[in-house]
Symmetry: D2
Subunit: 340 residues, 4 copies
């Protein structure tokens, strides 16, 4: 940590700040520049965030810069090798990108089974589908609940696809855990700490969506909440951030893929459906996600988007999904990703 | 709702879309412009969001514009008169702005009692203080828990101040309800729907902070979640939004105050402490919030910010808070707000 | 255009607004919904922006929605077929993506010639290099000026590459036009209307970078300024937008590629160097740009980035550029873009 | 400047980087922390931006943090006392906030004279009005040009008000300088460096609007461009930034007022008209601007907003402006600003 003193600070000011730092158990390291005095704070990283906050209350302190990233379990320093999550042979974070596909919400047995067959045949390995739906308005369709989970399990039984479905409510943890293969934590809950801690104690992998306005640091610290409870199988999912852009639902920030892969060992996938909100943008952005190096995609597919109970406008038709899967395969090979 | 057809759409395309709309139970109203055909959709507003989503799956549809705001209980159409929440004589939403003040977190009996006395004397009516703290990192101080609630109650007993404190976890609802006068729902939980529904069934008023990247619409729909469960006493709190600004913790969006007051009858207050993250910006922005017409302020005050366990850098010292209260009083009178 | 009246507006209010609209030469088309009255405004689009602004001054008007896009010359309605700009056989907007590469700034004869040879050999067709540099600080290196233009021309002579270089100052138009093949208008000047009008009268194609916070509409209207002066050869360049992201120079908004291609016939290319600001993100984002369907890339390459006079941190080394070109070729084929 | 080395960097890596720094004429100052090695770079600040860029090209370097602010002439270190600009007795930056008011555009002699009388009587000291208008679309009203300037001068003659009007085109500098008292540089031209340099050599004060997505640093560096050419009379104007907010034209960032006042000695004023884009938000936000400590306001007023040729929706009617002026007066006194 570096403390920058104001230009007009006196020797006494500097000494006072140094003493406060030493009282907290750190060493100080003084460096007098031409215009500013800088105090280096050396010592284990434990409570530096709080020390920073305290030092900023003094008028003689201009700014405090934390040097060491706050990530422990999520960082490459902790685990240099990439994490590969293996769900009965489906590997997330391996050489081959993993495709998760399915409807926004589970609507009926017919709908989920038909979708499952379609995405399986096109090459997907994991079936997505919401049973508990977070909706911006309390008056919108909220999902089928446990009935939806049972239908997902039925689709798994028939097709062999694994399942990913959202957990919104800590009180549903047990029932969701009973049916799903992967917990999805939605963007709105990225900083719902009790929920993060709860899935951190659970026995299934967790796919953690990036919050709508979350920095990379906040996103990884949310993963840290999960991992610090013991669950080391976390998948990150970029799903677009909020910007001034008014023609897409969100702005898909694909640069987060290589950025996260530099800092963290966790696999990171892309959701071009929520990332754009428009089915005709999903295809180019899915291709771009793979080209940027994503470890997989999660894509909304519906047998008949015009009749979907939610998010029809961003769901691919079966034939478009099939075409996309072929392009993705070629792009994966182009950047040497294919083959597990 | 208005459906705009693409320029090159045929009569058949238009008919097809009209039929879909009629099948959902709405009337259509055709208007052929020089360049575009527009279909007006007339009927009660129930499921228009979903119809919009479905219509956008057709290639002949360029865009769909929803005309009627989705707010019911929170809107001025539902209740033209401003809501005044009366907590044993402390009125929020009345003529006089209400000041909530206190430390970021309850740290000790001495700290909370001392702060309570200071803010009471300066004119505050409600004591803030976190017992359960949402922290970005799992390794930061997480609050004293129930012990903190008890200390808040003790401070209330001594000073007569009301209490506002954050509820993060649905499992703590009962214990928080036992001690607090107002539930605070934090920015990170603005779209934590199970939590919103839970406080919607509770017996105490709820202060709902604006999410970090929430639009006015999303914020009011979050309030709608609470109100639709029966609890009509909701206070909105502007606490800054996330922008590209890098010298403040958030960008305090004071224009949300008059905007919300036009649309909704709910009281709206300002948090300049989190809105700026810097104690020396809190004073000007608190004044500005009152001048913009806010129904109150929530301000972090600490007897000794340099020793605070969290957010010391944005806490006011007692003497600064006192000065601010005097300025606020004059500004309230300038815009004719003083006197309950 | 659609005028939405407030819920509580009277028949008189509606009549008054209708009369104002008719006085401006438009027809009105009334539609009374369950909750709102809507007035359709029918007629040629000439001055609707101003009429909107006037109508919004009436208290009975809730909002005004413009339906027809304001684009004329840049829109697909004006010219359904994609524009292909042919510079002596180098086609921009054709089937094959075009690669522009070179240093941020022209620094010396040796540097620009060496870079030109490197990028030519790797497959680039256009040489980039700044002679006049827009720098955030007046104290930074501002470019070699006309001397830089002469060096670019020398590199063209030797390698056959075409040239793209920035025009910042209307007073340099003649000298830049003498040497360059394509004018670059930088992000900071996207709404410098005198400059846009000037290049609109010039005889060379213009590459128009997206402003740092420009919407798609603003970007295309800036192109409209150029085209309305007669110059129909405009290339759009996505170079990242400003968001809250703090680990990249900008947030590269690749969804703008397919969005612009739907609305406009103009070619659109991607600048992953400014879009990320970090050389190790340039490669994945360049690949992603091509996969998203871009008509080309503009990439900073320097023989020795560690000695560059500007933007070294985002410049590719020759060997990395070469590898990237091979991957780009494969991705182009994967999405069926290769071959002119 | 501080260079942070990657965790896995070797002694050789550190030495290499130190040598590069020394070769550029700086001293190094090594500090080995528990996890990271940090190199302090000591020496005059001349070319540190470029050195930073070069160092970031090395894989062993994690990040480079510049410590000293890049402001020279605009900073408080250069000139601790606040700048007061005196235009024939009208003082900007003094104790009393200065009010600039008038129409968006000069439309006719009658309109500008009537407005001038109205705003003068209400207490404004400076008349605003555009003669050359930057419009997003080339098809919108572009202003009356020199004719507009003459009308402004006529209004000055009659009322004694000073004039502020926009300069967009470097080729109009002489004609605008002939008539105006203050040059306005618009938000779109905040980084139009040739224009900034030109007004830097002119003889009249410059009001520099903040760019739509400009950081405080970029804004002050733009002022630095003007001041470094010799013109020391720069007024900064906050006019809102671009965010995700969709119900206002911009998001007025009032925290920039106290922030800029801490860093710079230049006066800073607020434009609540462009900052909100809605006349009914102008009043609360104008009051808030004064309460936040602004040195003045610039407000659009039109005798008949419903007939304005531009920006009618954000123009105040005379009676509302008058009421606002009274409130502003009271707020100024409340924060001890009144009286020159």
């Amino acid at each position: 940590m570096i403390v920058v003193m104001k230009s007009n600070s006196s020797k006494d000011d500097v000494n006072k700040i140094c003493n406060i730092i030493k009282d907290e158990g750190y060493e100080t390291h003084l460096s007098e520049g031409v215009e500013k005095t800088i105090i280096g704070v050396v010592g284990a990283n434990g409570k530096k965030e709080n020390l920073k906050s305290q030092l900023l209350t003094y008028k003689s302190v201009e700014k405090v810069v934390i040097i060491v990233e706050p990530f422990k379990l999520t960082g490459r320093d902790f685990k240099p090798d990439k994490t590969v999550i293996d769900i009965d042979g489906v590997k997330i974070g391996g050489k081959k990108p993993v495709i998760m596909a399915g409807p926004c919400a589970v609507e009926s047995e017919e709908q989920i089974l038909e979708t499952a067959r379609i995405v399986k045949e096109a090459g997907a390995e994991i079936l997505r589908g919401g049973a508990f739906k977070p909706r911006t308005s309390p008056y919108s369709f909220q999902g089928l609940g446990e009935e939806g989970l049972k239908l997902l399990a039925k689709a798994r039984e028939e097709t062999g696809l694994k399942i990913v479905t959202e957990l919104m409510d800590i009180q549903h943890l047990d029932v969701v855990e009973e049916y799903t293969d992967i917990f999805q934590i939605g963007a709105r809950n990225m900083q719902n700490y009790p929920l993060l801690s709860a899935v951190g104690k659970a026995s299934k992998p967790v796919m953690l969506k990036r919050g709508m306005s979350a920095t990379i640091k906040e996103w990884l610290l949310a993963a840290e909440y999960i991992m610090s409870e013991g669950n080391k199988e976390v998948i990150l999912c970029e799903r677009g951030i909020r910007t001034f852009g008014e023609r897409t639902r969100n702005t898909l920030d694909l640069s987060s893929i290589p950025l996260v892969q530099q800092i963290s060992h966790l696999p990171v996938i892309v959701d071009p459906s929520h990332g754009t909100g428009k089915w005709d943008l999903v295809i180019p952005m899915a291709r771009a996600g793979i080209a940027a190096g994503a470890d997989g995609l999660i894509i909304e597919v519906h047998p008949n988007p015009g009749e979907a109970l939610s998010d029809g406008q961003q769901s691919l038709k079966p034939e478009n999904f099939k075409m996309l899967m072929e392009e993705i395969d070629l792009i994966s090979r182009a950047i040497n990703r294919e083959d597990n």
